[in-house]
Subunit: 348 residues, 4 copies
């Protein structure tokens, strides 16, 4: 089968012909229809310090996908929940089920997490083998959306962690694809005011398309002052930090109201200077680090939003390429003008 | 009456003879029996940057106290809840009751908080006027303990915020008086393991007296490694950061388990470099900034612990001085070898 | 001034000329523009067992209203938060501020609650005196809506108590005005599916106008079976029991999913036979009794929804009468075909 | 091997010689050392309406046990978490892992739960096969205690569900073994006041042995009045209803404070008349139905309490019999004078 493979300890990836995966007793084989390309894939392409420390090539890249079940292992079939032909996506974090976190209902923080496309073969391929327990039926959700439920789930996790956002004011810092999804999720979840901020005007346009009532560009707007203005001087109930930039952290702490919450998803590549007394303690803030998707509360909430039509992520998709166009996909992400980039792996 | 007064914009404070406070319609006048001396009072004595930016001398210093009601205003009397002769202490944060935080049950974060002994006249005096709604009856709690319910309340707030600590592992970083109280509160609240850390051996002895099952000195112990060792490699469920030192922050993030919580009370005088990706986000941590005492949930829980005898803070009291000994009190705090320091204002 | 007065221990109420209220130091006087008529007012009119046990005539009736501040007491003026001419409504539960519930942030359950129009003079009058702390500015919310924020607040409290309803399935049993408001609040708060049930077709039409995706009539529909059908056999995440009928309780318990929640607002006039083992314990249900509005979280959330236009309760208003039409208002409520009934007290 | 078997649709059970269980790939075989006898086993013995509707004889009875691993299936061995010789107990609810409840972290409410000793072969036998994922290592907890972690877990679930009990007042209604365990758990978790009530003086003595500060007998004590007296007239923060008797429900609702919580574990055999308006709604109560143990939060908390020595359930064990003494065990339970009854299955 075709697969995008990271072959060695150097930049780049290539499409190769590799053996199709074998189906274990509790696995299913999924024919991939669509796959999403993510910032993580860019890190892997570029072979940066994170990638070189974590990956052990050769490995098939890609962790966001949806497709159709074409084979079930013996135990997966016996469970009777999945069938050949089912349209599905999957949680890409494969967890141990035994560590403290797994036992306490926080499997997204499993000590032994294996991520597809990073720690084991991934989804930029004609077929992928997945443990049946990680597979989610689409139940009518379009397959193209199914392919990006991994990053949408990051947004759902970020927006819904903490007190209900119904009736709240939400500030989203950073309007990459997950930031844009967060805007839409906050609106779907009943937020009263959603403000989004980014330096990139194209991204701000996507945020508006997802429902942001106001978009700000820190180059010309005083983000903190504008948020206070819109909230009777109080600040935002929830700040979703999706930029991963130290200046985003400072803005997040300043824009959150006394007793507010900052959920942090953007992963900075360097340290931030924090004045804990002034920025966090005297303000009574709660900060929360977002990793992955809650397994499987986040998936459940996301499916409800998508099936009820409360939230449609498709305006964020700006580019589509065939599997062989992986190089172009990486390039448009690197150029910073793309929303979500999709690989159209199969055309049935 | 006698009062410890900060008279001008310079270091020091003095005992002066000043007019006794007048009782407003919704106030009570309390004859002070005991008062607690706090790190904040040291800042005021030394006239550091925080103090000089916030205080407007002359002001009577002191915010921790207990005593006896000697006069009630008209409305305070009409409410019928307090009586002359009642042994009482008081919440020293006087809040507006109208801002968003006050309305949402987070009055400890009131935008217009006035702190006694800082923003208005305080408790190092023979008498103090307090709004009746801030006054708490001691109901049999010894008056000396009543005088330090302000810092004990800080510890209660720090330990009890978040998931229940019953059955949890708790690491207390920094064994000043509030850290020592936190140790005792964690034990009273059913924590299974309480570890305390400080550079000062005397303070570690106080922490042990309050129930710490293990005390560590970062000079000779690898705090993070020892905590992991004691928790099957997982780390602590809750870290109470009471040191206010950047090295405490790093230790707190490292020692907390995946999905754990760090409640921050110690207020650092400088910034901390935080690697949010590695220290907070990938670990799924929750951080919470502790200000004051929840009004009045914290007081209610604290009174229950104290009245039931589940927690006795008195081993932490190491020094007692008369009101005129304020200079000695400040000195022993500055020397760093003291636990809690008390002023014995009246001897009836 | 004119006022609807319950004069003695017998059915009925009349419009009388009575002295205007006097403004206490912490009160405001509000000129009433609109008032809402409630089922409670019907009980008072009919002088049933509840009314005769609780009221001590003579008393001015009415607890739902909005209007304009025309006088401020000395302390109310000093606080500087309210001004003459402000359009306002008010929380009608006047609480003590001192009992355990008040101190723990549950003032809606104050042991000494006094309700306007029940325990003290109410709002069916040209003017009413209210403690300033109970007064809420409308800030642009239409005055007619302001007049019914008391029952809308009951709905907000019922729908938002517990886990977030964002992405949830909600069943509303009983489509009186508060049930209809609950439908709209659930939609505003991001519920994915809102089903409403009532025996009365006019009320079901109002529920649909408020956004119910499906309405059921127990006379012809198997409510529990239909809800299961729509939820993959699971049942509803949240059931709002607004009917107050024992058959509503049974349906609520049966229609809730395993681990679901039933929030009970409808107050039955007789007992219900509950099979706790089968209906509650083996299902792992949570039941919650809804009283009043959380003070003031509920008000805050409600104002956000109303100001952002996420929820418009006006389709539920079916009848409007002048103050003198109180008898007609009571009659249409009694006939059971009305939605919300409003008194137009002043026409400026 | 020996096993206590329910052979047919009639009262009684007998010890028989049956084939030892076969070890599936993801199972382990445990040699049973101790087993606990439960009220459920009495229902099965007596073949009451519940038992005859649910069981399909022949089945080996018994769901509380601990012992030693003697065999591991292929996959169980590969996971590397369990080893031959490990002292273990097990969660007796075998869940599907796929239904909504399982996916949302509420597997104790799995739609397809199979209970050992009820729906499949149980633990009153020399050996039992269990899925490896249900097995819990004892890690030093005495095996006799391990054998009763199922009912101790019921108590932990009942006491810890809801707000933290640290500093709270707790009323336990019904002092059978689980009620007595609840007393001990509440003390371990930092409750300030634990009151227990039962008609049986022997059981009240066991409750005192577990730490109840006051025991009441409804035959001579006014339970509700005494609880109010001890709580400044407020009532208990948490009532644990373990009696399963309609009179217990009425007492629970009456003794809980405004805004309090009633966690219901005792399963009544008949319906209760509830006055929802007066008993639940106007009081703002939360009711919660307790089923099983949270998988696996409850187990985790319980192990912490037991390993730290915060709670020792052994005073509640009043009778020990060999496996062949099952008839005597059932008899002493039926007589109502027993605490916890244990079968000593193996003596190594």
């Amino acid at each position: 089968m075709r697969a995008v493979v990271k072959r060695g300890a150097e930049p780049g990836m290539d499409v190769h012909d590799v053996p199709a995966p074998v189906c274990g007793p509790s696995d299913v084989i999924i024919k991939v229809h669509f796959a999403g390309v993510c910032g993580t894939d860019l890190h892997i392409w570029e072979w940066d310090s994170w990638a070189s420390a974590r990956l052990r090539p050769p490995v098939i890249v890609g962790h966001e996908f949806a497709g159709e079940i074409v084979e079930l292992g013996r135990e997966a079939a016996a469970a009777g929940l999945l069938a050949i032909g089912d349209a599905v996506t999957a949680e890409g974090h494969i967890v141990c089920g035994h560590c403290l976190q797994c036992r306490l209902g926080a499997a997204h923080l499993c000590r032994r997490t294996q991520i597809i496309g990073v720690d084991r073969d991934g989804a930029f391929a004609d077929f992928i083998a997945m443990p049946a327990s990680n597979v989610m039926k689409l139940d009518g959700i379009p397959c193209e959306i199914g392919a990006i439920m991994d990053p949408i789930g990051n947004a759902v996790h970020t927006v819904l962690e903490g007190e209900s956002v119904s009736g709240s004011s939400v500030l989203v810092l950073g309007c990459g694809p997950i930031g844009c999804f967060a805007v839409g999720v906050a609106r779907a979840a009943g937020a009263s005011l959603v403000v989004a901020s980014d330096f990139n005007e194209r991204r701000l346009a996507l945020a508006r398309a997802m429902g942001a009532q106001l978009t700000l560009n820190p180059e010309r707007d005083d983000v903190v002052a504008r948020v206070r203005e819109l909230t009777s001087g109080d600040g935002a109930d929830l700040v979703c930090e999706m930029s991963g930039h130290p200046s985003g952290h400072a803005q997040a702490f300043a824009a959150a109201r006394l007793g507010g919450r900052v959920n942090l998803l953007g992963t900075p590549s360097r340290t931030t200077e924090v004045d804990f007394a002034r920025e966090v303690i005297f303000k009574g803030l709660t900060l929360y680090g977002v990793t992955g998707r809650k397994m499987y509360q986040t998936w459940h909430q996301m499916r409800r939003f998508l099936k009820a039509g409360q939230f449609d992520p498709r305006p964020v998709i700006t580019h589509r390429f065939p599997l062989e166009g992986i190089g172009d996909a990486i390039r448009v992400i690197k150029e910073g003008q793309a929303g979500k980039v999709i690989l159209e792996v199969a055309h049935d």
